[in-house]
Amino acid sequence: MVGALRSHKLPKIISFILGFYVEFFRCTPLIVQLFFVYYGMPTIGVKIDPVFASIVTMGLNSGAYMSENVRGSILSVDKGQYEAAKLLGFNSFQVNRYIVLPQAIRVAIPAFMNGFSTMIKETSMASVLPVIELTKLGNQIYAKTYHPFEIYISLGVLYFVMTYSMTFVARKLERKATKWQ
């Protein structure tokens, strides 16, 4: 939604706030963002559960990147499409809903799926907080069993299956979205 909004002309203040959100999350490391939300926020009185802090931070981080994908894909739609639709009587909502978005989605799918894959892999970063996620679980099992080879290769396979299934879905969606090309 942020990307869709930023692809249009907005009041300066809204444009600044959305731009700041996107640039802040794109220009700082995820690990710093996680530390800030979980350890930094309580100093100003906002105490957050570690799982919730991880979900919110990663959601915002991933959203910042994806909003840029959405913005780019909307801007890639030819100006002539807007003009033709306007002359046929489409209003702004109808232009976006029926003309621009179906074309923008085609452009956005590969980058979107790439973003999802990255997000799956980056969930391992939550292991820096007191959150039991896949990588931390692997570390805990390793600490008990001392079988690093088996444990980390299993972790790798699990991440691969999750990420590769996204690629598979992406290909299907791409085929569907480009049937008109």
Binding site: A84, L87, F90, R106, W180
Partner: protein, 242 residues
């Protein structure tokens, strides 16, 4: 009363003064060809008429009323673009039916009926389920004409409809335009293809440096031009045709 009445229209892009006081009246049933060299303001003029550019000063009236700011002209002015601007994700049929069902809130069956009729008219009945990407340039432009006709515009403006087409495809498109002319459709056609419009344009307007220098019948403009700029332009066009 003229259908389109343009009074002292001026339009600049930065320091580039494109239209410098255009006055033009178009009556119902007129087929006005707008000619002139590149940069003379032809496209800007038709884009202003279509409401895609906002004039700096001057007035454009449709049936005696201002229509550009209050949405009164929506659907009344159709436009056919040089690069078609068809909706690539809709089939040929859907390119016609979608505006009818979405904008005019027409029943799908009624919209389909209109699409069938218009596709037959532009000889694309066999391509109804094809996507624009699979059509030839001429077919795309004929589909764009059909899409425009579906909204029943009072006037259709063509912005160099054949300039990106080879001669045989351009011929197909002009055949369709000629048929519309025979039916009395009011049209404004920006083109460089003088030979194609000679047979059916009721008026020819020669634009130079953002001003209409000549406005007359085909005979007056092409057979006995007196304006020096027009003579130069016609010589250039003839040279291009060789």
């Amino acid at each position: 009363m003229a259908m389109i009445d343009i009074k002292d229209l001026k339009k600049s892009f930065g320091s580039n003064h494109v239209l410098n006081g255009v006055n033009l009246s178009v009556n119902r049933g007129d087929i006005v060809a707008i000619i002139g060299s590149s940069g003379s303001g032809k496209s800007t003029l038709v884009r202003c008429i279509a409401g895609l550019e906002k004039p700096d000063t001057g007035q454009i009236l449709l049936n005696g009323e201002e229509y550009l700011d209050d949405g009164k002209g929506v659907g009344k002015i159709g436009m056919v673009f040089q690069n078609f601007n068809l909706f690539p994700h809709y089939t040929a049929r859907e390119n016609i039916t979608k505006p009818l069902t979405i904008v005019k809130k027409m029943e799908a069956s009624a919209a389909d009926e209109i699409a069938e009729k218009l596709l037959r008219k532009v000889k694309l009945e066999n391509a109804a389920n094809q996507y624009p990407a699979t059509l030839s340039g001429g077919q795309k432009q004929r589909l764009a004409i059909a899409r425009s006709l579906a909204m029943e515009p009072e006037i259709i403006v063509f912005d160099e409809p054949t300039s990106s087409l080879d001669p045989s495809l351009a011929h197909e498109v002009f055949q369709t335009i000629k048929e519309l002319a025979a039916e009395g459709q009011t049209m404004l056609i920006v083109t460089h293809q003088i030979n194609a419009i000679k047979n059916f344009a009721t008026r020819v307007v020669f634009l130079n440096d953002g001003i209409i220098e000549v406005d007359g019948t085909c005979g007056e403009v092409f057979e006995n031009p007196t304006n020096e700029n027009l003579k130069d332009f016609l010589q250039m066009v003839e040279f291009d045709d060789l």
